[in-house]
């Protein structure tokens, strides 16, 4: 689920923090910059693992702050393809089942990856697995808050860096805010035996 990513960056320490130990200031700055943020094509950054190398710190003319090039390792949430994860159902929509891990919310299980046959119950806004047995069809509901085991089948990174002024003119004035896209989304699948709500596969 988590990987270690080696990165290099230049950290700026303002003069009023010079009395603190350099390592502590740098750790704080790096965490301030990266924690809980998605880095394009890397994943969701959690926290600093360690600092592997500090290069010389420079003070540039006109700026009293010191700039240090830091080599460090960061703990990043980036599940590998086909990894099994357990999350909670956040809700259902016609697009599929939305799952959340608490610290990461943008996981979607599209309708074609649900245990088949599945149908969407419009009244209760919930996906249902129509499980066939000899006694007849059981309707297994995928309720909000239930724990669900799923397999990661796809991931997509969207570059959410701000675009230049030219595209702002192109969007009409009627839509005030462009749709907020999640920078990192995961696609899951529960179409295998053992996957789906935990309660479906335990005999407690």
């Amino acid at each position: 689920m988590f990987v270690l990513v080696e990165m290099v960056d230049t950290v700026r320490i303002p003069p009023w923090q010079f009395e603190r130990k350099l390592n502590d200031s740098i750790a704080e700055e790096l965490n301030k910059k990266l924690a809980n943020k998605v880095v394009y094509n890397v994943g969701l950054c959690i926290c600093l693992f360690d600092i592997t190398k500090l290069e010389d710190a420079y003070v540039f003319p006109g700026d009293g702050a010191s700039h240090t090039k830091v080599h460090f390792r960061y703990v990043v949430f980036h599940p590998f393809l086909d990894e099994i994860l357990i999350g909670k159902i956040k809700g259902c929509s016609p697009e599929g089942v939305h799952v959340s891990l608490g610290f990461f919310d943008d996981i979607l299980i599209p309708p074609e990856s649900l245990q088949q046959p599945a149908k969407f119950d419009e009244a209760e806004q919930v996906w249902v697995w129509e499980y066939e047995t000899e006694e007849g069809a059981h309707d297994l509901y995928m309720d909000t808050g239930e724990e669900i085991r799923f397999r990661v089948v796809d991931e997509s990174f969207v570059d959410t860096s701000p675009t230049g002024p030219s595209s702002a003119e192109a969007t009409s004035s009627s839509e005030e805010l462009p749709r907020k896209e999640a920078p990192y989304t995961l696609m899951g699948s529960i179409s295998e035996p053992g996957l789906g709500l935990l309660s479906w596969w335990t005999s407690s």
């Binding site: 988590f2 990513v5 990165m7 965490n31 809980n36 099994i84 610290f103």
Partner: protein, 147 residues
């Protein structure tokens, strides 16, 4: 900012749990700057991640247990990713093993899957939500009791 290596190492949930708990202790000791606006993201992510990991079986693991587990796994010839998933999830049924081990029907016989289950459940401590002495509920009707 430059990313040197986006996949330099895989971390088990236990290692991340340990790291975040230590970080929390450290920040509690140095007190005052915890509430500055810049630290809010770190607070949020560590709280949520710790909350998630605490509900998994990793909570009760220790470096010795992990080492013992990996030594025991050597004989089963599994890939690193498969061993990591077994360590993080502590499967208790054959169905779960089949999910985590690729092509398990071809690579492992039924006895090997049983042996694997036994190794996993005996070395790794149970998670906070499951009772420790629960028998595996697979349909193989095994008569060896859960150690």
């Amino acid at each position: 900012m430059e990313v040197k290596d986006a996949n330099s190492a895989l971390l088990s949930n236990y290692e991340v749990f340990q790291l975040l708990t230590d970080l929390k202790e450290q920040r509690k000791e140095s007190g005052k700057n915890k509430h500055s606006s810049g630290q809010q993201n770190l607070n949020t992510i560590t709280y949520e991640t710790l909350k998630y990991i605490s509900k998994t079986p990793c909570r009760h693991q220790s470096p010795e247990i992990v080492r013992e587990f990996l030594t025991a796994m050597k004989s089963h010839k599994l890939t690193k990713a498969e061993k990591l998933q077994l360590l993080n999830h502590r499967p208790m049924t054959a169905v779960e093993i089949q999910l985590m081990v690729e092509e398990s029907e071809e690579r492992l016989t039924e006895e090997q899957i049983e042996a694997l289950l036994h190794t996993v459940t005996s070395i790794l401590p149970a998670g906070p939500e499951s009772e420790p002495k629960r028998n595996p509920d697979d349909a193989m009707g095994d008569d060896e009791d859960a150690a």
